[in-house]
């Protein structure tokens, strides 16, 4: 049965895109593999940099703030567990945007499902995340925090994190296609966002009003909290910790995917 392409036969672009991406799943995997292998191809330490990078950040932050936050138990592990969530989020959303705008020349030449770039960025991020688990586990053991059975719950926050990042990455890439400086603006936004998320400071130091706002409306806060519950605190999360993260990530994913695929046909006119 030869494949048939019919531009008129399209019920919903978002659903079409899902079908196409399933057909092109191997492309997503190979794009991710390309990003991982080419990134460190000419460096001596290679993929080890993925692990060294957050460790370095953690070290600096620990040196700078450990006196201030003495009462946070296992402070380096507190930072690192938050940092790897944050780095996943900031790196994958940025990569989704950059891959589309810079790699988008391809879209003029051959047909590809346009979400492949963002999905490849997520897959690359997940690989890096798994790698950074190694130093995180070692650190937890060294510090003497307990490693508990609650670790089996970790895939759930990771799933939410991936869904949220994919949704936001798609949304930001849509903007970036139309306005090139969105990519620059987003970097500033990310910095502000990081300081408004309890990554390296404990939640309690937030001023009351700002704290009220952040603990409700900052999706990354919920993702970090869920992740930390299973790894750093070693307990299963409560339901009221799970549902905000779930709602935020699913809503953003659906919105991002829909907006992106509605606009995707115009990308090859623009990029």
């Amino acid at each position: 049965m030869p494949m048939i392409y019919d531009s008129a036969k399209r019920i919903n672009p978002a659903i079409d895109e899902i079908k196409e991406i399933i057909r092109y799943r191997d492309l997503v995997a190979l794009l991710a593999k390309r990003d991982i292998t080419t990134r460190y191809k000419r460096s001596v330490l290679g993929v080890a940099w993925t692990m060294i990078n957050p460790l370095g950040m953690m070290l600096i932050l620990t040196i700078a703030f450990s006196q201030l936050f003495k009462d946070v138990p296992g402070y380096p592990a507190y930072i690192l567990s938050g940092l790897i969530v944050w780095q996943f989020f900031s790196q994958t959303t940025t990569a989704a945007m950059v891959n589309l705008v810079w790699g988008g020349g391809l879209l003029h030449r051959i047909y590809l499902p346009r979400t492949s770039f963002a999905l490849a960025a997520i897959l690359t991020g997940l690989t890096n995340l798994l790698l950074t688990f190694i130093p995180l586990m070692i650190l937890i053991l060294i510090i003497g925090l307990p490693l508990r059975i609650s670790l089996v719950f970790v895939p759930i926050p990771i799933l939410f994190l991936a869904a949220f990042s994919l949704g936001l990455g798609l949304l930001m890439s849509t903007f970036a296609v139309y306005f090139p400086d969105v990519a620059e603006m987003y970097q500033i936004g990310l910095t502000a966002w990081m300081y408004l998320t309890p990554i390296f400071y404990p939640e309690r130091i937030l001023p009351e009003k700002i704290g009220w706002f952040i603990t409700r409306f900052n999706p990354v806060y919920h993702l970090v909290r869920l992740f930390r519950a299973c790894i750093y605190e070693g307990r299963f999360p409560y339901w009221n910790e799970v549902w905000p993260a779930m709602v935020f990530s699913m809503v953003i994913l659906v919105v991002g995917w829909t907006v992106f695929s509605q606009k995707a046909d115009e990308f090859s006119y623009r990029i």
């Binding site: 048939i4 392409y5 008129a8 191997d26 995997a29 794009l31 292998t37 391809l106 051959i110």
Partner: protein, 246 residues
Amino acid sequence: MKQPVIRIEHASVCYRIPKERIGTFKEYAIRLIQRKISHQVFWALQDVNLEIAEGEMVGIIGQNGAGKSTLLKLIARVLRPKTGRVWVRGLVVPLLELGAGFHPELTGRENIYLNGTMLGFTRKQMDQKCPRIIEFSELGEFIDAPLRTYSTGMWARLGFALATDTKPEILILDEILSVGDEAFQRKCVERIQKYREQGATTLLVSHSMVQVQETCQRAVLLNHGHLIAAGKVRDVIKVYRKEQAS
């Protein structure tokens, strides 16, 4: 009558060109509030109707900017028509963009896999195709060297071998198909010839009337996005010549 493989019905493509270049989001926001965004609409193709049957060899002619490559992009699925309909059956291989997705840091073999999946094949299918592609490209041991070490000719050879490994139902050709040295070029022409004999539909974009006359059974003339004439090559070329003269 053979079955159609391409059907284009009332297809139009337009680009919206902002009258002034708006580069930043801030500017856009200001103009949006002032309601000062105006676009110029440029019709790259307008109400084009075309049907191409299985095994046909069709030449597409017209001046630069007439909409030839836009038409090909519609068929290759790169652009979606703003209005109208495009219907295509079978695998389309555009031999215009050989090795479009090659990455210089990856080896030849890695690039074969990555670009194969870009053409819509699965990794499993690529396992089968890979040895044939390597053989046809004559790259030998270079296949495991990164592409940045390749010469332009080697790059193009790999691109051609990859794109044409599976017999396509529809082949899109540019007049200038310069792939490697003369011996390899002959090999490419032979392969295209073979596919045509096996019934592949071929579209040829060309400025050379001689080439179109020699190879095509039918020609299509585009001018400023309109399909002006379609039919016997000789008649269409006559129309084109007359238009050029005036």
